[in-house]
Symmetry: C2
Subunit: 349 residues, 2 copies
DNA sequence: ACCCGGATGGGGAGCGCTCTACGCCCACGG
DNA sequence: CCGTGGGCGTAGAGCGCTCCCCATCCGGGT
């Protein structure tokens, strides 16, 4: 009895095994089991399906990828998976990817554009189906254009790309409206009576950081506020912490500090607490993003809410759903942020 | 001039292209570019390297995986990537994986053992190099044994597995000592003067949750404390929130509540705050894990610190570093938790 | 001078799957 | 009754890479 070799061989069954068991040619088996368009007579189809089940056949994805020169891999590139901002978006991306039968390859760039480019190249070599790029672009034209070139190569090989953050890469993008959000936040804060502000603005070469600062300034200009201090720093919790300390060291007459993202704001609040600066009594604090962990921060942080997980889902859909129009004019899904006033910003009398 | 077809063909260069350009056989090129042990004369080696560089050759990983029936993929299976516990561990795993030249495939199980098994099967089909399983096992013998069977199949096909959580899967494991940690926490809390406790214990079928409850009970027994209430609930922030509300609803004479993990504790504190129950004045709260976001929780949460990121790194190393001994007796890296008393637990007079 | 073995290069057979040809069979029209 | 075309099965050529096996070349031992 060598009819079912795969059952005893120990090794996983191959398509040939299935075909043999079903008494058809490998080609027919492939048509039934693979995503072919050609019809197979129901009777044979049954036989093949049955054989596959009996051998608990699973196609070898590498063989498939090689033969079709296309895989089910979708690359997810984030700066730092431990950052709640990215992990929420990642959750959205993985959900959709899994729904669509894609395999998520996670790449961590550690905020290094070079690594981002390398990953893109790796993903191209993998014949990945799509790449989802999460996180702010930088203003460095050199790396940006090299990344763009790499992505172009990837796309011309049939891959798809989506980005959550800024456009400028000429790919479909889920784009939070940082300017408008920060603008509205500024107006809301002046509405509370604040006039003098400090901004913890992150690194100067991060587009997101810049946009938020710009928008904030615009909003203030329109509503009678001014930025008294701007302190640069890392785009992280510790960056916010350090920036706040520096602000304190130099002294400021601001009544409210705006950190361009929530993790920074949270870090800043920690610094203020350490220095016994009451929030919001002595100094109000506002952030941006509304990361999930904010629910448990005290005082509750005023921020601009972005639907992070949903943004991840949308990006995944952009990347996974073919849309011919993208070749001419890449899709742009604007996401607007909602200002949420909470306890970290007080009303000035 | 057809000497460098790949440069103009648009398609990525193949090994044959490189070999042709270098004027050697594909076999030789493979030996230089792949991880072969066979020596190649320096002169030829140079030529090949040069040709590869000129064509910016990158090997097709699928072809490689097919030919060697082994890939560089390492699967990372977590319950929920947006949960800080998992995202910290994931950060550790990805760091090491990237160091070792592996590609991380992220799988989200949504706490469903079935999905975990499915993923393992997929990874086996992928000829993954390793699987890192993160998160508590359940006590369900059915799914556990099916998962174990799948993993055995995976390993006998040459794959490696590591787990962070409990053993019982018979694979190398990074094992936080939940019992001892909870035991010590219990003693520390009785040391503060507490005698009556409530425990938000998570789902009854989660091994981690059980171990912590057990350890806590043991510690109390040895130090004169008692558990007055136990409330089951989801192992999440919202589960903690709901559990705390239920505790309040039923009423309790406990002076301290222990939530078996930090996210639950944080949720519980939110519930208490909403119900105006002062922490720690009216009720003390303790958690377990010391997730990163705890730094910014107020009051600072008493907990048992686990070096999460490091645990991820260790697990990745267990999975990626060949260790023949594992076949007989899988490695077991115990991780002990350090009790950290913070402001959420007060000293009783 | 001859044989032997180590060091290296090349040939070519797969790895498991897809897909293009091509062939067979049958219904149908003229 | 033969020609014709559509439906459906099979043969077989790759996809790009690895690796077994054989051929070649040398230097040294006897």
């Amino acid at each position: 009895m060598t009819e079912e070799p795969a059952l005893t061989r120990g090794e996983p069954a191959t398509l040939d095994d299935v075909a043999r068991l079903a008494g058809v040619s490998p080609a027919t088996a492939s048509r039934v089991l693979g995503k072919s368009t050609r019809a197979v007579r129901p009777e044979l189809r049954e036989k093949v399906l049955d054989a596959a089940a009996r051998l608990s056949y699973t196609a070898n994805p590498h063989a498939r990828a090689l033969a079709r020169s296309a895989s089910d891999i979708v690359g997810l590139l984030v700066h730092d998976i431990a950052d709640p901002y990215f992990s929420s978006i990642a959750a959205g991306v993985t959900r959709v990817a899994e729904e669509q039968g894609a395999i998520v390859v996670l790449g961590t760039t550690l905020r290094d554009p070079e690594r981002e480019i390398e990953y893109a190249a790796t993903l191209r070599a993998q014949r990945a189906r799509a790449i989802v790029l999460v996180g702010s672009r930088t203003t460095d034209p050199g790396t940006t254009s090299r990344l763009a070139a790499e992505l172009t190569a990837f796309r011309s090989a049939g891959g798809r790309v989506a980005c959550v953050g800024q456009d400028g890469l000429n790919v479909p993008t889920v784009r939070p409206d940082n300017q408008a959000g920060a603008d509205r936040l500024a107006r809301a804060l002046t509405g509370l009576g604040h006039r003098r502000f400090a901004v913890l603005c992150g690194p100067h070469d991060l587009v997101t950081a810049r946009e938020r600062l710009d928008g904030f300034r615009t909003g203030l200009a329109a509503s009678g506020g001014t930025v008294r201090d701007v302190v640069e720093g890392a785009f992280t919790r510790d960056g916010g912490y350090a920036s706040a300390l520096e602000l304190l060291r130099h002294g400021t007459d601001a009544t409210c500090v705006f950190a361009v993202n929530d993790v920074m704001a949270v870090g800043a609040m920690a610094a203020l607490r350490e220095r016994s600066v009451g929030v919001p009594e002595e100094l109000s604090v506002a952030g941006f993003d509304d990361i999930a962990t904010l629910r448990d921060t005290i005082p509750a942080l005023t921020t601009v809410r972005l639907p992070l997980e949903e943004m991840g889902e949308q990006a995944a859909r952009l990347a996974l759903t073919p849309n011919p129009a993208d070749d001419d004019e890449p899709a742009l899904l604007p996401v607007s942020g909602e200002v949420i006033l909470r306890e970290s910003t007080r009303r000035l009398v």
